[in-house]
């Protein structure tokens, strides 16, 4: 196993999980050759801007309610702080008071710092940040610049531990180290596992729910709470707006479960390995099959299978007929999906539940295995159970590639997730698109009904898509659309 909390940093996904960012083939072929490990690693000789592990790591940690972030970098890397207003809105939606400040500072590295280093200033910034805001923990993030010039973040923990009475956790997330931004999840969770989580003093009646926004849309949080009540447990939603104290006690929970496989592999397995909290290995709770698998696997660990089975049956009676009614209208409709490595396969499964024809799935990266050595559950399910074979590709947000595919495939609908802006490129081509912005979009039977309706309405009224596609020009040359999408793949 790749989890070793004695190490200062966690290896990147390319090295730890055999993850890849370039592939083109079919899903069955991909399965037959045993996932990423069976394919030749490719790189690209043309690429577009992706995202970095630093942004991913800080984006996660920034959402902790009472921690501070110190970014050891030039000003641009700290721009995530500008989203503090959105954080406030989310915190309010979750019923908490917005924080008085963003608690986000930056050492603002300049040209001379790249020559002489800036560790002393960084220490001052950390002390000043503590004095100003009295956070319950301070996460100190490295950047490309601090990494290239070799700043030693580990040493500051030792130097400051007598001055600052709260945990100071270095986060190793230099952007150039990995092409997979999801490595940033692991960097963030490594810091939490190593510096924040304490050994359990007792067991509580809680379940760690590792998710993103915490079920703020459509009040889906209430649906999670309802299910958990049947199991007689209480969820701790992490990380968004969780307190440092809550994080310290994650070890006391009865289980960890997640809405996203790519998000949770390191943390879920880490909490299990280091603190003995069982990690639920299941499909993610999207669509009927995923929800039932998620709920029942958790129920099994909690010894509540009977109660949950009954609860699911009651709910299903209400919602399944309504889902079927809309699914009938979508039967045979052709779809393309582009999302993260876990969501893409989870949503492919849902569209198949609706009887839709999947033409192509693109994942923003693909993990060969998770931290416990298992194949990602959603992918495994597709390989073993899907009646369809379809084109499958991996690209880390390479817009020119999936636009090329999209134009060729010309599906009835394009279903995508973050980054939010992705949806417009399909609509500009005249292809209706739906953005699965919230992770609870298709949560449970109720969410699945909401989702199937949304897809149907998206396909039904194409007016906006029709109009915009007639009035805008895509930024690509016609030549490009005539080339295969994998034109710029090169051997590593």
């Amino acid at each position: 196993m790749g989890i070793n909390l004695k190490n200062s940093e966690v290896p990147i996904r390319e090295n730890r999980l055999g993850s890849i960012v370039a592939y083109s083939g079919s899903i069955k072929e991909f399965g037959k050759q045993g996932g990423c490990s069976g394919c030749d690693e490719k790189k690209r000789c043309f690429s577009q801007s992706s995202a970095c592990n630093n942004g991913c790591a800080i984006g996660q940690l920034f959402s902790i309610y009472d921690a501070a972030i110190v970014e050891h970098s030039p000003a641009g890397c700290a721009s995530i702080a500008m989203a503090s207003y959105l954080n406030d809105l989310l915190v309010t939606a979750l019923g908490k008071k917005p924080r008085e400040n963003s608690g986000f500072t930056c050492s603002d590295m300049g040209e001379s710092d790249t020559v002489f280093g800036a560790i002393d200033n960084l220490k001052d910034v950390i002390i000043e940040t503590y004095n100003r805001y009295k956070p319950k923990a301070i996460f100190v993030a490295s950047s490309c610049v601090s990494g290239v010039i070799g700043e030693d973040l580990e040493s500051i923990v030792e130097d400051l531990k007598d001055i600052i009475p709260v945990p100071i956790a270095p986060v190793h997330c230099e952007g150039f180290k990995t092409q997979i931004w999801a490595s940033g999840f692991d960097a963030a969770f490594h810091a939490i596992l190593k510096y924040i989580v304490k050994p359990a003093e007792k067991k509580t009646n809680k379940v760690n729910v590792l998710n993103f926004a915490g079920g703020t849309s459509w009040n889906s949080r209430a649906d999670v709470l309802r299910l958990f009540k049947v199991m007689d447990v209480e969820p701790t939603f992490i990380l968004n707006s969780a307190t440092v104290e809550e994080l310290q006690h994650l070890s006391e929970a009865r289980a960890t479960i997640s809405t996203c496989g790519a998000l949770s592999t390191y943390f879920g397995n880490g909490l299990e390995q280091e603190f003995g909290v069982p990690f639920v290995r299941s499909l993610q709770p999207h669509g009927v099959i995923g929800y039932e698998d998620w709920a029942l696997k958790l129920a099994k660990i909690l010894d509540k299978e009977k109660e949950v089975t009954e609860f699911l049956a009651e709910e299903k009676k209400i919602y399944q007929p309504q889902i079927d009614e809309f699914a009938k209208k979508l039967k045979g409709k052709r779809a393309m999906i582009a999302m993260g490595p876990s969501y893409s396969h989870n949503y492919a499964r849902i569209l198949e539940e609706f009887g839709m024809q999947i033409e192509h799935v693109t994942s923003w990266h693909m993990d060969d295995k998770y931290d416990d050595g298992s194949m990602p559950d959603a992918l495994k399910y597709i390989i073993e159970n899907s009646k369809q074979d379809y084109k499958f590709s991996v690209n880390e947000l390479q817009n020119y590639e999936f636009v090329n595919i999209l134009k060729r495939v010309n599906p009835d609908i394009f279903v995508t997730r973050h980054p939010a802006g992705m949806i417009v490129w399909s609509m500009k081509l005249g292809i209706p698109a739906y953005n699965v912005r919230d992770e609870y979009t298709a949560f449970g039977y109720k969410g699945t009904l909401r989702f199937v309706k949304a897809l149907y309405y998206t396909i039904t009224n194409r007016s906006f898509t029709d109009s915009i596609s007639k009035h805008v020009k895509m930024p690509y040359n016609e030549w490009w659309y005539q080339q295969p999408a994998e034109t710029f793949f090169v051997d590593n």
Binding site: S47, Q48, S49, E128, V148, K177, Y400
Partner: protein
Amino acid sequence: MTKILDEPRYVCALGALQTVEAIYKAIPVVHAGPGCTAKVSIGGRSGYLGTQTVPCTNVGETEVVFGGEEKLHDVIENSLKVMDGDIFIVLSGCTTEIVGDDIDNVVGTFKDSEKPVLSVPTAGFKGTNIEGHEWVVDAIIDQYLSKRYFGEKIKGLVNIWGPVPSYDPHWVGNFRELENLIRELGLTPNCIFGEYRGIDNINLVPRAKYNLLVAPWVGLGNVKNLKEKFGTPYLHYPTLPIGAHETSLFLRTVGKEFNVDSNLVEELITRKEKEYYYYIERSCSFFFENRASSKMFSTVASADYALSLSRFFVNDMGLVPSKQYITEGVPEEHYDRIRQYFKEFNYEIEAEVVFSNDGYQIHQQIENDDYAGTPLILGSIYEKKLASKLNGTFLCVSTPYAERVVIHSSYVGYHGGLKLLEDLYTSVFQKFN
């Protein structure tokens, strides 16, 4: 002294890629890490391009260790094939400059390509996105416009410079309104940013009779450069004209400087002011009778908005300035001149200027000052909670900008002043009255 950026209000020089994106069909080619483009795209919108369509080398460990020149070459070469662009501008980031890639050399190999390929060093540690904006414009002047002859000067043609694309939340509308004002004077505006303004507009730049810079400091280097290269005189008008007082002064100044018939200018001003005051008359009781209205204000903003809004609220609305905080990391050489601008209000009113990028200290000072009642805070979204804590009135005007969606509105001109009043007094209206 500790160098601390608390609540960042600008990004690094690479943020100049938003300036490139603002030129229609100009393609930035970023030679930096995989996350840099997303991090510095603080305007957060897409248009012809979006964050994920920007060509980028996504520099990794290999390029840091062995250099990234080869990768840059490949990405430029293939950008020219894939991307439908009229001009390609290579922007370098921190890592590639620290490891010493010879970017000029790589870009030089494309000097004979059909589309111009330029390069600008925009390493994050070298400056801010506002400075980067000026460097991009200089690169267009030095590496493209100076290399060939674009034709003789065109009578009445005026290049407009000033708002920094995407950093100024209203930049598109502001440019459009500046163009409209120039057009109303019988001149022909030329701008290289916004609404389909692209390479044809760039090609017109050397042919203009005048350059007009409407900003307190950024762009000054550009208009001086244009004067040197093409002999074009420039007018530096530091204030974005908002509302009647400033817009009329703007029209008179521009008219005089660019030889417009003063009768025409005065007739225009009379007509516009009459219209403006029709609307002011209909609304003004609310401005002054409202319990939540303010007498004193502070701006916490980039220099352009701090100055323009201060002049509007003092010279048009009769308010009194408290301290004005300028937050975009203005280079020190401009401090004195900017301070002087804040000493030229009506009735010899002056305002104290504080240059700071430390949100914590700014907020402490505001909390300690007395505003003779409800403070009016015109700032970034960071000031929203502060204003609420002080029972003040808040309008978001500067980066980081949130709360309002700007599609095509502007605060510039007579209409812009009215729009500003609508936005501000909507906030006042929604409070206890």
